[in-house]
């Protein structure tokens, strides 16, 4: 562009006036270039800051508390109040509708927004009998049951069908009868059923009832499909429980239909009902202290834990736990303190380990059990609620207050399962014998309790880096010392790039070799590997000593600083010797097989892809980085320092340790730091050379899982913006911050060193 202008009116040196605009254009270009370059230079800082803040931005929502918001209006009167008092209410998946079951045996479906009635339906309660009790089954399958005066039970289920006529969503509620629309007889003697409990599944169901004369009856129904038509019949087996029902206030059956929990005001009895014909009392114990009472009881999601709300405002999680003697026991995993009033309403989330509790004073609290986190604790109502219902997505709940008004709230509670404790400290997970550090993030089922402790991953990361450094530091630093100070320049010219090329090797290849070649090799030559640690240095020493004895003229044929090349056959021979000797060595000391011996003598297990393999492979990967930086530092120690030292009579080795190493120590330190940073973040080697098992085990023969490998394995399957996704970002942030600290430290040390050298 400028070319064409200049040809039009080519300015001579003294003719500047004609090309004023051209000169101005040149200056503008110069300014623009300067601006552009400055922006470009500063954008490096922007990039680092952007990475950090973006990671933080994704992680941040994990820390947010839950938020509560009144939905729409100030509430409305109970829809169809004439149909009776609400016993139980539930919200459907889309948060459009709710249903309430009344003490008159009616189901009323209504819109949440304004309380208009969608449909109501009377359940087929026989005219001859009255309703005496009510229970709901597993909260996520919508089953409810009424107990009647004549010893019968009627089981119903509320369902919603979604359809899209004209592209708009339409929800059609209905009531179905999973066990048939006739009431089932539980008590053949026809006593009224005062309490009932049930668990209904596809092919078998369990009903439990307490009769007016305090008998406890268990009925197991199994599905039988007729051979000839599709007719389904339920075959019942009834058993009388050998437990006195006098003081039973609460009854719950878990959805696996394995355990029946019978609670009085203070204690609980666990009955094993997996074999309905022979129920066995597992044990009985007090859940609350003597001066308080059980006030509410519900299952936590998954139905492996009980939530117990007592009269003093304490909410405890109890679960069956297998102890050391292999005996299953009820254990209190944790408890929360709501306020001082009795807890009257409890509702567990359907997809997470979370719950809502309200006390008689109208105080509401939202908790997450795994994280032991109190997300909300606030005054919601004046006085106790009648009914509490939480939506399936746990983002909305409704309350019927004492005055028969229905109020709804939106609950914003995205990531309750994460807290400092659940990430970094021991957590007592359900059905684990004791609190532990566990990473087990994903499962297909909603009932699964995600275990997201970063501790085993950080442990694995540090363990892998430790062994890598153990192998890498001596080789790299000793190598740097020799190359930087003793080696002949002509050899150094080739050796240095030769070792640095190692660093350019893709880690995926090192990982592949480590996993598929080195791991089986180490497994079959374990003794040889250990023998090598001894034999190779020893053979170098012996060779050096013998070399000393060789007459001088022969010795001087090899020039100074070529020792490393002379040693090649020695090292090769040493390694060969180690592997050659190892089997006999094993035969003498370890009964022929080191691995078997370790297992039998010390109980040390052996994984094929273990920390030793990772240490060797990753050590190999960090050598060039440490070597290169440390060698630079040693090589650039000013020559007058070393010559001065030698002139004063110090031996070369004394000069090395007393002068060179001391001067170069900051550089060596930063080399080690940078190597460590590299080992911590390395992904492919650990991914391929370990079994990726997130265990916390100090043994060098066990596998591990590092933060980086964990991200690589789980990130592609993680749902965007889910808790799991954010925790993986947190893992990345941890890696980023860690390497940032290490690298910044190393760089500062190096910058200081450079200044020091330039002043020397």
């Amino acid at each position: 562009m400028t070319e064409s202008r200049t040809t039009q009116s080519k300015p001579t040196l003294f003719q500047t006036a004609t090309s004023d605009s051209y000169q101005r254009w040149r200056l503008v270009k110069d300014k623009l270039a300067a601006r552009g370059v400055v922006v470009g230079g500063l954008s490096i800082i922007v990039a680092v800051v952007l990475i950090f803040f973006y990671l933080l931005y994704v992680v941040f929502p994990l820390l947010l508390p839950a938020k509560l918001e009144v939905a729409g209006n100030a509430g409305y009167g109970v829809p169809a109040a004439e149909m009776g008092k609400t016993l139980f209410a539930a919200v459907e998946e889309q948060n459009q509708m709710a249903v309430r079951f009344t003490d008159a045996g009616k189901a009323v479906f209504f819109y949440l927004a304004g309380g208009e009635i969608v449909a109501n339906q009377a359940l087929p309660v026989p005219e001859t009998s009255q309703i005496t009790s009510f229970a709901h089954g597993s909260i996520d399958n919508g089953v409810v049951a009424y107990g009647l005066t004549d010893g019968k039970v009627l089981v119903a289920k509320h369902e919603y069908k979604l359809s899209y006529p004209d592209g708009k969503r339409l929800i059609t509620p209905s009531i179905s009868y999973p066990l048939g629309n006739q009431a089932l007889t539980i008590d053949k003697s026809g006593q009224p059923l005062l309490k009932i409990a049930l668990a209904v599944a596809e092919d078998r169901s369990t009903l439990v009832a307490k009769t007016a004369d305090n008998r406890l009856l268990l009925s197991r129904l199994s599905k039988k499909e007729s051979m000839f038509d599709d007719e389904v019949t339920w075959e019942a087996s009834d058993t009388l429980l050998e437990v006195a029902g006098d003081d039973v206030e609460y009854m719950l059956v878990d959805k696996q239909q394995r355990n029946l929990y019978l609670a009085s005001r203070q204690s609980i009895t666990v009955v094993d009902v997996s074999d309905a014909a022979a129920p066995a009392v597992k044990h009985k114990l007090n859940l609350v202290e003597n001066d308080s009472q059980i006030n509410s009881l519900a299952f936590l999601n998954g139905e492996n834990s009980l939530l117990v709300g007592d009269s003093k405002g304490e909410l405890a999680q109890w679960s069956l736990v297998r102890n050391d003697q292999n005996y299953v026991n009820m254990q209190k995993l944790r408890s929360f303190k709501l306020a001082d009033n009795p807890i009257v309403a409890l509702s567990a989330e359907q997809r997470r380990r979370g719950m809502l509790a309200i006390d008689s004073g109208g105080q509401l609290a939202v908790y997450n059990s795994t994280a032991e986190r109190e997300l909300i604790n606030t005054k919601l109502l004046q006085g106790a609620p009648q009914v509490l219902a939480l939506s399936p997505k746990a983002d909305l709940f409704l309350v019927e207050d004492a005055n028969g008004k229905i109020l709804t709230w939106h609950l914003q509670n995205e990531h309750p399962e994460i807290s400092l404790k659940s990430l970094w400290r021991k957590v007592w997970y359900e059905s684990y014998p004791k609190p532990d550090y566990i990473w087990q993030s994903s499962s297909a089922s909603n009932d699964f309790e995600p275990k997201m402790s970063l501790t085993p991953l950080v442990f694995g990361t540090l363990k892998a880096s430790f062994y890598a450094m153990l192998m890498g530091i001596p080789l790299a630093l000793f190598g740097a010392i020799y190359t930087g100070y003793f080696m002949a320049p002509r050899v150094r010219q080739y050796v240095k790039p030769g070792i640095e090329i190692m660093g350019a090797l893709p880690t995926v290849i090192l990982g592949f070799l480590a996993g598929l070649w080195l791991a089986p090799f180490v497994e079959s030559h374990l003794a040889g590997i250990f023998a090598m640690l001894m034999v190779v240095p020893l053979s170098v020493m012996i060779f050096a000593y013998l070399w000393q004895q060789v007459p001088e003229p022969t010795r001087h044929k090899i020039p100074d600083g070529w020792d490393a090349i002379v040693l090649v056959p020695v090292v090769a021979f040493g390694a060969w010797l180690a592997f050659e000797l190892a089997p006999s060595f094993e035969a003498w000391f370890f009964n022929g097989d080191l691995r078997v011996w370790m297992r039998e003598e010390f109980g040390i297990g052996y994984d094929q892809r273990n920390t030793l393999v990772v240490g060797l492979a990753m050590g190999f990967a960090v050598i060039p980085m440490i070597f290169s930086i440390a060698e630079d530092a040693i090589f650039s120690v000013p020559k007058h320092l070393t010559t001065g030292s030698l002139a004063l009579g110090a031996t070369p080795w004394q000069t090395m340790t007393k002068v060179v190493l001391l001067t170069a120590s900051p550089g060596i330190f930063s080399a080690v730091m940078i190597g460590f940073g590299r080992a911590v973040g390395e992904t492919m080697i650990v991914l391929m050379a370990t079994g990726n098992t997130p265990v916390m085990d100090l043994s060098i023969f066990q596998g591990l899982r590092t933060l980086s490998a964990n991200i690589a394995v789980e990130m592609p399957e993680s749902e965007v913006n889910s808790t799991h996704y954010r925790v993986l970002f947190l893992a990345a942030l941890v890696l980023f911050v860690f390497t940032f600290v290490v690298n910044t430290l190393a760089e500062l040390v190096r910058q200081n060193l450079r200044q020091k050298y330039s002043s020397l």
Partner: protein, 550 residues
């Protein structure tokens, strides 16, 4: 005496020398290991026929001997093997028996002590098939249209002839099926998106409808024609088949359209084998993978790697050079440059997987998601750029390799003598002109060095790519004959990921191992080559400037 020797410090010096030696031996050993295993993959190995007799009876085994294991007798006995004749070692051979469709697996361990007889008859054939791995056995006859046309000695020549014809047909079918039908599908998809876009804008009317219907009709017609052609070719290719006898004596029918190659390695001379070796290598780098990547070539992986690296280079060069120019030419040494240097070092030190996470979250979901929302509303809910792909992989790696370019360029700039800049400025050039006309051209070899090192780094990096766009098997290349030719949104294959995937995720690791070694060798050669090249350029550059300074 020994005490004195220790006092002199000389043993310690020897020990440090030993460390250097160990490092060198490790590097050399590793490269040799990869080279040995990788190069062996292409060699047409001899096929061995064993007469074998163990506890389960007599049998004939035909296959390639691929590995040997020596187990001390004690360990062998512990593992439950019998050791005959009080031998010191139990010698076992791993034999690639092929014939997975008959035997159930490709490999078998046999013990030397049970081998009665071992021979390498010239008439054994090795057949590379499109499915079920290799076949080993003897050729008996060639069939056409169900009847035998030739038998015995002459069969091989006829078989080769027919196979060549069949391969040609297969090539034609392949082109029709993938390229032509692919283009039609692509065209139809574009039509659908156009229609959707018009509908969203509310501009869809009858005129459009007619036009689109006509275009669709044209595509349909073309498709019909191709189908007719395909049917004809398929009939033709399925006419001939081979009859072969496997080790157990059973006759096996091998349809020619399922065969890639037929050789008699035992009958080959040394020269033949070398020619075959070269041919195998060419096939390896130019062919598509088969059988879940465990057989065939790695062309798409090479192509994907090269394309990704080129795109990355286009992005990383200007940014890296500008940053280096700022540090060397514009900024005053001080607090800001210190911070920038720390930032550069941190960019170099951040684990690569963190770049992957950042790329996935920031590039793919935030930038890509917004691009989709703004420019491709018609494709919703299917993402276009809001999913991992070539563009995002290149950008992520560009960010990652930025420090490499910066450091190398800076070094180059620092070596250019001050006098050159001063000369240019004294002649009246502005700073920008000096930079553009004298400094940067002189620094271009240094920039080149940085770029090559960046390319080498990017070519070998896998961890971040796993998150931002690499797949184990891409149905289409990111560059093809359909407008707009370069498809930045497509996922691609990559050599490094190919190694990880085939070596660790494939169902038949044992069979795939040679291929992984060969792929590794290729990757290592490329990367070591690039690095050596960069080092050479750098050294030459240093020499040149040293001369300039004097």
């Amino acid at each position: 005496m020994i005490k004195e020797w220790f006092k002199s410090g000389s043993p310690w010096i020897w020990l440090t020398a030993g460390a250097v030696t160990i490092n060198l031996v490790l590097v050399a050993g590793l490269l040799l290991l990869i080279a040995f295993r990788g190069l062996g993959h292409f060699w047409p190995a001899d096929i061995v026929e064993y007469q074998y007799e163990d506890a389960s009876g007599r049998s004939t085994i035909i296959g390639e001997q691929v590995d040997t294991s020596l187990l001390p007798a004690a360990q062998a006995k512990a593992a439950g093997h019998q050791v005959l004749n009080d031998a010191e070692y139990l010698v076992q051979f791993l034999v690639k028996t092929g014939n997975r469709d008959i035997l159930g697996s490709d490999f078998r361990w046999i013990q030397q002590q049970y081998i009665r007889h071992k021979a390498e008859p010239a008439d054994l054939i090795s057949v590379e098939r499109r499915e079920w791995g290799n076949f080993y056995g003897r050729l008996k006859a060639v069939k056409e249209d169900g009847s035998i046309i030739v038998q015995g000695e002459a069969a091989l020549a006829v078989a080769q002839e027919k196979l060549a014809a069949a391969l040609e047909l297969h090539e034609q079918i392949d082109v029709l099926q993938n390229k032509d039908v692919g283009a039609i599908n692509y065209g139809l998809e574009r039509l659908r998106l156009k229609q959707r876009a018009l509908e969203l804008k509310g501009e869809w009317d009858d005129a459009h409808a007619q036009e689109f219907a006509a275009q669709k009709q044209a595509y349909q017609q073309k498709y019909q024609e191709i189908q007719v052609q395909l049917a004809k070719l398929n009939r033709e290719i399925k006419r001939a088949s081979l009859v072969a006898v496997e080790a157990g004596g059973r006759e096996v029918n091998l349809p020619l359209h399922r065969i890639v190659k037929l050789t008699q390695p035992n009958a080959m001379s040394g020269l033949d084998k070398m020619v075959e070796y070269a041919r195998n290598f060419v096939t390896f780098v130019s062919d598509e993978p088969r059988e879940a990547n465990t057989e065939g070539g790695i062309f798409p992986a090479i192509f994907g790697t090269v394309l990704m690296v080129l795109l990355m280079a286009v992005v990383v060069t200007p940014f890296g050079v500008i940053a280096a120019v700022y540090l060397r030419e514009y900024a005053k040494e001080g607090f800001v440059t210190r911070i920038i240097r720390i930032a550069v070092n941190n960019l170099a030190g951040v684990p690569s997987i963190v770049y992957g996470v950042f790329g996935l979250g920031f590039f793919v979901y935030i930038i890509g998601g917004n691009i989709d929302r703004l420019f491709f509303p018609e494709a919703a809910p299917a993402p276009v750029f809001g999913t991992p792909g070539l563009l995002w992989a290149s950008l992520t790696l560009a960010l990652m390799t930025l420090p490499v370019v910066i450091v190398a360029t800076e070094e180059g700039l620092s070596r250019i003598p001050k006098s050159i800049r001063e000369g240019s400025l004294a002649l009246g050039a502005t700073k920008a002109e000096t930079l553009w006309r004298t400094v940067l051209p002189m620094a271009s070899p240094a920039i080149m060095t940085g770029l090559i090192l960046a390319v080498a780094r990017a070519a070998g990096e896998v961890a971040p790519l796993m998150l931002v766009g690499v797949v184990k098997l891409a149905p289409t290349l990111p560059l093809d004959g359909n407008f707009p030719f370069l498809h930045l949104d497509r996922k691609f294959m990559h050599l490094g990921f190919h190694i990880y995937d085939v070596g660790f995720q494939s169902p038949n690791v044992e069979a795939a191992r040679p291929l992984v070694y060969a792929t590794s060798l290729l990757l290592v050669m490329v990367i070591v080559g690039l690095n050596m090249f960069a080092i050479t350029i750098r050294n030459n550059l240093r020499e040149k400037y040293r001369a300039l300074e004097n």
